[in-house]
């Protein structure tokens, strides 16, 4: 009679002391990061609770913010919407720039100019956002206003580029804020994309060229589809930063509780983080809780976007097990 095979327990045995220490430290570090995020979330929920209980669900979609000593109506709708709109605008503007830059650095430029370009772009990432905000309002706004005028004049019949009656100067708009955000996230997306491009399998490129591909068709049909998952990851990193961006937008955008859906040239928009910044200094007790609730909303929005992003990235690469 054949003997029944007894399965042994695997993964047992003596662990080297160094390994034990290493394992302990790494798990402690990862737990620490996790616990920190959890604690922040708990703090936000606790602080936001009074306001959310008071305001109800309208806090998220309503568009009134009136705080008096007697009564506080706090609703964040236009700011939440504005945050997402500006972040999307920023990503839309930044992504092609970043991909083009990364392509240039990895595939076209000789070594030393490529290194220089890489360093310059990394330097851009190191600039404090307050500097970018000041540059945005002093230098960039007058320039971008010219672009906005051009778009409005020539393409004003498209609702996207229309403005309210009586609007004369096209500054402090989501359009300009979008550009500023784009400047801030281009380095992130470029650096991720550059990394992906530089690890790209040259044999695939050679294979395509040997079939009679041009530089453009190699990029379009081979490099871009293969790298798209990774690039999307970079874009989402950028999106995360764009949604939380505070000071720079605060400088260049006219915050308004009158919601601006898609007239991106209109000098009126929203951004939750900037709103918190603008109100925090003089906030009453009740308003403080309202602003904390706004913070919670941003936190959750970022979380949801990351979640959706993960699903997209995983679906985009069926060949990757």
């Amino acid at each position: 009679m054949p003997k029944e095979a007894v399965r042994r327990k695997l993964g047992t045995g003596v662990l080297n002391r160094g390994d034990r220490l290493f394992f302990g430290i790494t798990s402690a570090a990862s737990y620490f990061a996790f616990i920190l995020v959890a604690l922040i979330l708990v703090f936000l929920i606790a602080q936001a609770f009074p306001a959310l209980k008071d305001q109800g669900l309208a806090f998220v979609y309503g568009s009134t913010w009136e705080v008096t000593p007697e009564k506080a109506v706090m609703q964040i709708g236009p700011m939440l919407y504005g945050s997402v709109l500006i972040a999307l605008l920023g990503v839309l503007l930044a992504t092609p720039m970043a991909i083009a830059t990364a392509y240039l650095i990895v595939f076209i430029l000789p070594k030393s100019p490529a290194k220089l370009a890489t360093n310059l772009i990394d330097l851009l990432a190191a600039l404090p956002s307050v500097i970018i905000g000041l540059w945005g309002v002093l230098v960039f706004t007058p320039i971008a206003q010219g672009w906005a005028d051009f778009l409005h004049k020539n393409l004003g019949w498209i609702p996207l580029f229309a403005t309210d009656k009586g609007t004369t100067s096209l500054n402090s708009s989501p359009f300009i804020a979008g550009w500023i955000v784009a400047v801030m996230i281009v380095p992130i997306i470029t650096s991720v994309t550059r990394e992906i491009f530089s690890q790209f399998d040259r044999e695939l490129i050679n294979g395509a060229l040997a079939l009679g591909a041009t530089r453009w068709t190699v990029f379009r049909r081979v490099i871009l589809p293969t790298a798209s998952g990774g690039i999307t990851g970079g874009v989402l990193l950028g999106l995360g930063r764009a949604i939380g961006e505070t000071v720079a937008i605060y400088y260049v955008l006219q915050l308004s509780m009158k919601i601006n859906f898609f007239q991106i040239l209109e000098p009126r928009g929203g951004a939750i983080a900037s709103w918190i910044l603008s109100r925090f200094g003089e906030a009453t007790e009740a308003e403080f809780h309202g602003l904390m609730a706004a913070g919670l909303v941003i936190f959750i929005t970022t979380l949801v976007i990351n979640l959706i992003a993960n699903i997209i990235v995983n679906r985009a690469q069926p060949w990757r097990k």
């Binding site: 000789p110 399998d201 044999e203 695939l204 050679n206 294979g207 395509a208 060229l209 040997a210 079939l211 009679g212 591909a213 041009t214 068709t217 190699v218 049909r221 081979v222 589809p225 293969t226 069926p318 060949w319």
Partner: protein, 261 residues
């Protein structure tokens, strides 16, 4: 679309090659006759793969690459200033050492990828797909799974898929750079059988480190050698039978009999 490939004669005249200041090949004169399989053999570093890449202008994609001499496809210089390198690569296909199917594409799309990459149009894609896969002897294995990703195939199948991909462009010449070096003996045998069939409709140049393979598949053999610190070149070129059976040069004799390399 009917496949009516016209094999062409390919000839190198006084081809010398540089990487930067370093010359790696000197005065290579070889004629690859139409419908023949020519094997390029020689120890590593002798320049045979480099030479192969000059034959369809893949060589010049390396930034410091230099070249002298000419490559004639049916008498026409492929390095002539009036020639578009993209057109050259469509007429002279290439199969690489490591199978390199496009990972984002299905089996079907891989075979037809050359059309998209070069902007060519054909009327009957399905026919071209089937013909190309049949010529690469892989049709029976993949005909029921054409929509699956190419990476789901085994290494040997992937290499035959890459051959099919080249064949879909209907090349006059097919260059193969050690196409079996990453494959098991079974897959190697099948690719060798494919090479034999393909030679009926095209000219084939194959780089190989495998002496038995060279003897099995090729009609002619060129032996490349580079002495220390000197550029590589052709030591001996003749019918495969002669090069292996009665080599004229002593160095060829030593190499084919495994005394060095």
């Amino acid at each position: 679309m009917t496949i009516s490939p016209v094999a062409a004669e390919l000839r190198s005249e006084d081809v010398s090659v540089w990487f930067g200041e370093r010359q790696v090949l000197k005065d290579v004169n070889l004629t690859f006759r139409a419908n023949r399989v020519t094997a390029l053999i020689g120890p590593s570093g002798c320049g045979k793969s480099t030479f192969l890449r000059t034959l369809n202008r893949m060589h010049e994609l390396i930034p410091s690459a230099g070249l002298a001499g000419s490559i004639l496809l049916d008498g026409k210089d492929i390095y002539d200033p009036s020639v578009n390198p993209v057109d050259v690569r469509m007429e002279i296909g290439m199969v690489f050492q490591k199978p390199n199917p496009f990972p984002t594409m299905s089996i079907r799309d891989n075979v037809l990828s050359g059309l998209k990459l070069s902007g060519l149009r054909v009327d009957n894609k399905d026919e071209l797909l089937e013909t190309s896969l049949k010529r690469a002897s892989i049709w029976n294995e993949v005909k029921d799974r054409l929509g699956e990703p190419a990476t789901a195939l085994s290494g040997g199948q992937q290499q035959r898929l890459c051959i099919a991909r080249s064949l879909a462009m209907n090349p006059k010449v097919l260059l193969m750079d050690e196409p079996c070096s990453a494959l098991d003996p079974g897959s190697t045998r099948r690719i060798e059988a494919t090479i034999e069939e393909l030679s009926e409709s095209m000219t084939i140049v194959i780089v190989t480190h495998n002496m038995q393979q060279a003897q099995r598949v090729s009609h002619e053999t060129a032996f490349f050698l580079a002495d220390e610190n000197t550029p590589g070149g052709v030591v001996e070129f003749g019918s495969t039978e002669q090069v292996f059976g009665q080599p004229i040069d002593e160095r060829t004799n030593d190499y084919v009999n495994g005394h060095f390399g």
